[in-house]
């Protein structure tokens, strides 16, 4: 994780990275992908639409983990269509963790804000201007999309899954008292230096990682704003909630409870 700052300054400070006009905000979207050949063009199209319509300065960083389904080919076409200043391809050889995907993506990001989201169309880019508005309104370090507040919600889950999800979130609230209503969500806006700091500190995997980020953020006294979002279950591809996942979620939760 070599710093690109000029030598001479021994400590990290909140300096603006090179290559961006001072005081102009830029938003870098990190999109880790694995086998998203169908969804990737669509999510990018929606991102471009949302940003362009709102006049927001942005870039989209696609971190593909060597998908065997041709995701990379589709990413290259998108780069040609929208330009390599807007679509940055930063792939990896094989499937590695989400945390390392964010670290990898951030090395190439020139934005002062980072947006993380899923590439499978469950998160709709139309909420991003709302995240940005919310962040400015409260000067928040983090803005988190929530499915459990206001008119946030989920489409495409059966009752069983909704109950499990709600139950898990409720349990999390009781044990961790995190000050955010949706802990396992992964549709968030971070100040760049905040995400950097949190990633260094977090050790969990999968969605426990997302939970740990919020818990650590609270410990470090970062401020968190929330925006209700609608979450639409996968239009294409397979869903991944099984008994194993539930067990590992519970283990992760209890670990966080014990160690934070």
């Amino acid at each position: 994780m070599a710093s690109e700052e000029a030598s001479g300054s021994p400590r990290r400070s909140r300096r603006e990275p090179e290559g961006r006009a001072p005081r102009q905000d830029k938003y870098s979207v990190l999109l880790p992908t694995y086998n998203e050949r169908e969804n990737l063009p669509l999510i990018v199209w929606l991102l471009v639409k949302s940003f362009s319509e709102s006049g927001i300065n942005y870039e989209i960083i696609i971190i593909d983990d060597g998908s065997p389904d041709g995701t990379r080919d589709v990413a290259e076409q998108l780069e040609k269509i929208y330009g390599s200043d807007k679509i940055l391809l930063r792939p990896r050889e094989k499937k590695l963790g989400l945390g390392t995907a964010y670290i990898h993506g951030m090395k190439h990001a020139t934005g002062n804000y980072i947006i993380i989201m899923d590439a499978d169309l469950s998160h709709h880019p139309k909420f991003i201007p709302e995240f940005i508005r919310k962040q400015k309104e409260g000067n928040f370090d983090i803005v988190s999309g929530t499915r459990y507040k206001g008119n946030g919600g989920v489409y495409g889950w059966d009752l069983k899954r909704k109950i499990i999800s709600r139950g898990a979130n409720f349990l999390t609230q009781i044990l961790l008292r995190p000050g955010a209503s949706d802990l396992t969500g992964s549709f968030r806006l971070y100040r760049r230096e905040v995400l950097q700091k949190l990633i260094e500190k977090c050790v969990s995997k999968g969605y426990v990682f997302q939970m740990e980020m919020i818990v650590r953020a609270r410990q470090l006294n970062y401020t968190i704003g929330e925006v209700p979002i609608s979450f639409v279950d996968r239009v294409y591809g397979e869903s991944k909630l099984g008994g194993n996942e539930i067990v590992s979620f519970l283990k992760g939760l209890l670990t966080l409870f014990a160690t934070t």
Binding site: P41, L42, W45, L46, V74, Q77, L78, K80, I81, L121, H124, G153, V154, Y155, G156, L159, K162, I163, R166, G167, F170, L171, I174, L175, S230, F231, V232, V235, V247, L250, K251, L254
Partner: protein, 56 residues
């Protein structure tokens, strides 16, 4: 290997009793509009991208 037999204190009971209320909520709170809007945007996206040279 640590078992799930780790003791869950009274929070466990607190989770269970509001479940019927959640059941009611979960039944009604569906984001149908969001799903419909997404579907129509997908059609629009595919058409626009094809025009710009995307080979799906």
């Amino acid at each position: 290997m640590e078992a799930l037999g780790l003791e869950l204190p009274s929070p466990c009971r607190e989770v269970l009793w509001p479940l019927p209320a959640y059941l009611l909520w979960a039944t009604f709170h569906d984001c149908e509009d969001a799903a419909r809007e997404l579907q129509s945007q997908i059609q629009e996206a595919r058409a626009d991208l094809a025009r710009r040279g995307m080979r799906f």
